[in-house]
């Protein structure tokens, strides 16, 4: 493990797949004829292997963007490409969901009727490219790497919420995705568990570098994890400020007390606060 995690842990040079290009995306919801613009001419370029943190107040339309990439919703105009291939665009408003883009959901979507091991094996079993024995061997190996040994035969309901999240990330990685889409996955966790989860996520990332599109409203989480923060304006959602996090990887929790961390925090805080204020005044509700 430590052999893999070296000074190049944060480098994106060796990652070739998973560049996302979001161009001029507009999403207008039209419930009962009253058009609501959720995403407004949003353009974001995410290089392959980057941890891109999408920061914005709750309900600003970040999840709409994530759902468009995942293929759960269509877009109104604009286009999204993955590695130069069109996911959705003018001729094709909705992307096909696929195993190259896996979502880690806000409330978790592990199947409660499957054991952790069976959950993790689910994707490759559906893909049918490997034999069952190979799949389960790989699943056990990845569980061991993620510190999940001993919970293989537990149901998700039997382990702590922190472990459940880790199982879900491993399940996502089993599909060899190019992109992981996180929809505020640590929102419901207490701050102590959260800090453990952040380090665990980075550790998993250093071993399996994929592009990470991570939605959050927690600025500390965003700076600790991300290569870059895209701070979004409140509804309609569009990038307002981009903050580069030049703290070198691999990172651990000592980073939180560093001067650079504070500086970046200060740089980002005002913008985030301003947008949160706007969202609050507009009467946006949590969620």
């Amino acid at each position: 493990m430590s052999a893999v995690i070296n000074e190049n842990a944060g480098s994106l040079d060796d990652v070739t797949d998973g560049a996302i290009s979001i161009k001029d995306v507009v999403k207008i919801y039209d419930p009962d004829g009253a058009a609501v613009m959720a995403v407004d001419h949003c353009s974001i370029e995410i290089p392959a292997g980057e941890i891109c943190m999408i920061v914005g107040p709750s309900g600003c339309g970040k999840t709409t963007l994530l759902n468009a990439i995942a293929g759960f919703h269509g877009i109104t105009s604009g286009s999204i490409h993955l590695d130069g291939e069109l996911l959705c665009g003018p001729q094709k408003p909705q992307a096909e969901p696929g195993s190259d883009r896996i979502v880690v959901f806000q409330n978790g979507a592990l199947f409660p009727w499957k054991t952790n091991l069976d959950n993790i094996a689910f994707g490759p079993m559906m893909a049918g490219k490997m034999s069952k024995a190979e799949i389960y061997e790989k699943a056990r190996g990845m569980m061991a790497d993620a510190g999940l040994s001993g919970t293989e035969n537990n149901y998700p309901g039997e382990v702590s919420s922190g472990l459940r999240r880790r199982v879900e990330i491993v399940r996502a990685l089993m599909n060899d995705p190019k992109v992981l889409l996180f929809d505020e996955p640590y929102r419901a966790l207490d701050s102590l568990t959260k800090s453990v989860m952040h380090e665990a996520l980075l550790e998993i990332y250093y071993r399996n570098k994929v592009t990470i599109f991570f939605i959050t409203h927690d600025l500390e989480e965003a700076i600790f994890l991300g290569h870059r923060l895209i701070i979004m304006s409140s509804r309609p959602c569009k990038p307002k400020k981009i903050v580069e996090v030049d703290i070198p990887h691999p990172r651990d929790y000592s980073v939180l007390t560093s001067t650079r961390f504070r500086e970046i925090m200060n740089e980002a805080k005002d913008v985030v606060h301003e947008e949160a204020q706007k969202a609050f005044e507009a009467g946006e509700k949590e969620g």
């Binding site: 969901p97 896996i102 979507a109 199947f111």
Partner: protein, 274 residues
């Protein structure tokens, strides 16, 4: 280990409480039923009920009687038959209504009109329309469980967390995989609950149907079932036997529910962890 010991203790204590409660109930019943004999004044209502000791004596007399066990057998057979038919028809119907919007639109309104009709209201019609008494009873029993099962399956399948479906879709599951590996297991707890409730209703219905229809094909007596057993005891004036019949149904219903609970627990092992 300590947890299982703890539950063991809890169960034994709960069991003890149950036994004590039944004992106290029996004493009150006995005293109430013998109130005229012992105090010269009959307690209202309970003074007319045969005392538990007499019921017990009557019961010991029946235990050797094959026709009493034949009544058990007949009722069980009808409950089992009607219940199985309700499962076989009800589960696919509920699932189909949940997954297919067109079918739902067509089937649900008529289902909702038929559902409030109590199964017992079907007794005269089913006696007329079904060729044998046995089939009429089976049909009414079937209806007892059918609506509950369909409603539970439909509700369970419709309330599946949408993100389970999205996750499965992302991981490359086909429509059939999603149905078999997501919709079906996610609905299983509702199927178990629906059948447990349906089983209870089935016992209520079968007893009433047996009383009304006069006990099925053999026209009463040995082939009558527990409902007819109670009815013929009433007609014959054996009040102890009425109580024996009632308690027998209670025990039979409890056995069926317990079997179903055990089976349901085996089918949904992940729910034990909650």
């Amino acid at each position: 280990m300590t947890i299982s010991k703890f539950t063991d203790k809890l169960f034994s204590r709960a069991a003890l409480r149950g036994i004590v409660a039944i004992g106290i109930f029996m004493v009150f019943w006995e005293v109430g039923a013998r109130s005229e004999e012992w105090f010269g004044h009959r307690f209202p209502f309970i003074g007319l009920v045969p005392p538990p000791t007499d019921v017990f004596v009557s019961w010991t007399g029946l235990i050797a009687d094959p026709s009493y066990w034949q009544s058990w057998y007949m009722s069980f057979l009808r409950v089992f038959g009607g219940f199985m038919a309700a499962m076989i028809v009800g589960i696919p119907l509920g699932l189909l209504m949940a997954v297919n919007r067109t079918f739902y639109g067509m089937a649900f309104p008529s289902f909702e009109v038929l559902r409030p009709i109590p199964p017992l209201a079907w007794v005269p019609a089913s006696i007329i329309f079904w060729p044998t008494q046995e089939l009429s009873i089976a049909f009414v029993t079937f209806l007892g469980a059918f609506y509950t099962i369909v409603i539970n399956v439909l509700g369970g399948a419709k309330s599946i967390n949408k993100q389970f479906l999205q996750a499965a879709q992302s991981m490359g599951a086909s429509q059939w995989d999603i149905f078999r590996r997501i919709v079906l297991p996610a609905t299983l707890p509702s199927i178990v609950v629906g059948s447990a409730v349906g089983m209870g209703i089935t016992w209520e219905v079968v007893v009433a149907a047996e009383m009304i229809s006069g006990g099925g094909s053999s026209g009463g007596g040995a082939g009558g079932g527990l409902g007819f057993f109670i009815w013929s005891s009433y007609v014959g004036g054996s009040y102890e036997q009425i109580i024996v019949g009632m308690i027998s149904i209670g025990i039979a219903g409890y056995i069926s529910s317990e079997l179903l609970r055990q089976l349901g627990g085996l089918l949904t092992p992940w729910l034990k962890t909650r």
